[in-house]
Symmetry: C2
Subunit: 259 residues, 2 copies
Amino acid sequence: MNILIIYAHPEPRSLNGSLKDIAVAHLESAGHRVQVSDLYAMQWKAQIDAADTLAPLRGEHFDASLDSQYAFAHGMQSEDIAREQEKLIQADAVIFQFPLWWFSMPAILKGWIDRVYAYGFAYGVGEHNDRHWGDRYGEGRMAGKRAMLVVTTGGWESHYGPRGINGPIDDILFPIQHGMLHYPGFDVLPPLVIYRTGRIDEQRFAAHRRELIQRLDNLFHTAPLPFRKQNAGEYKIPELTLRDGVKDGEVGFGVHLMG
Amino acid sequence: MNILIIYAHPEPRSLNGSLKDIAVAHLESAGHRVQVSDLYAMQWKAQIDAADTLAPLRGEHFDASLDSQYAFAHGMQSEDIAREQEKLIQADAVIFQFPLWWFSMPAILKGWIDRVYAYGFAYGVGEHNDRHWGDRYGEGRMAGKRAMLVVTTGGWESHYGPRGINGPIDDILFPIQHGMLHYPGFDVLPPLVIYRTGRIDEQRFAAHRRELIQRLDNLFHTAPLPFRKQNAGEYKIPELTLRDGVKDGEVGFGVHLMG
């Protein structure tokens, strides 16, 4: 299969660098074709701006949505953006690997999402009517592809537990897993999270290596997180709130998972 | 008072640009001293890397935490970082204004957090012992200062409601308000969120302008969000999970607010 790794860490000789190298070697030895977008090595431009479109601006001033829509539709995007979109289209599975900085992804990776996820490519796709509000949240250009986060953090696992001070890791990752991955259609696998990276000795490293390899071996077999599909009848349209009868009286991120 | 606006939008002639100009003019007319970090205009560098320290690397390879710690402690940070830290130190209140892109902040603003929030400045501050786990989550260098988000989004308010498909806006903003603002010690005010920005006519613009001005007039009077303090006895140390007797049986982001 074709596997794309989007990798965001400044230093190759780091825990993240080692894990990425292990993943590439293991996937290739298993017969997969692997591509890596090493964002730091590529000196990926993080900020969306008017240079992202090679077309004249559509209006009197730059509009991140409308200008990206026109550039995407007319093949006039900045080449670095078009190249990443092509890698996504070719991929059967995409791994996003990064250190959790300030409870989110590093800026350089957010800039990959902001720029590669053009209007017409990752959002603004499909019809909007009273039964179907665009191809999103379970439908869209990434439908049929799998995505998985590999995340490292200096914090302790208990700090990210159900009653931990940082908030539960699943909730911290929800804007990414649901908002950036399920939204354009990916099937999102449970994340691999490695805690307390300041205290990794050989024994722990070996255990994380084993777990990573196991996850990679099961990349096409693991059950995805059961995020609900927007247009499958469980949400009112266009309010996009859960219908009565679905998790009545419950609120929050958790209601958007089945079961 | 000294008010700092951290502003992240690529286009001055936009809703965000107008709101920022209104804020600056209104705050100055009220007698405040206003500084604006217009990240796009400053061409703010988003990615953390070895160029952020002017000192020799501490180890054999770049370590974002340890090298930022040394550079901060020894006055050897990249000048753009030191300048933003100085603005923060001078500020009595900080407004972060940005469009919500993919359920988070634009990359250029995340890069401001990643780089300006150096080890020793915004984290890794204070003693760690069995009663006090660093000056964070309610203590820290930003203690006594106020922070407020001003956020725009194309989505509808119902999409961000308690049962809305994007998840509740308070939960989406939790990693920012709790994780990036309460963490280094800010008192965090309720956010001003402007929805459905694609459909703003003169009447709605006037209403948003009035609300923004009202929020600014109350910047030093509004009650902050009641996030719990880490070292006030409600969390076990070092597990940093809520003690028995505090919101027993409850989990999730909401347990970290009092009441």
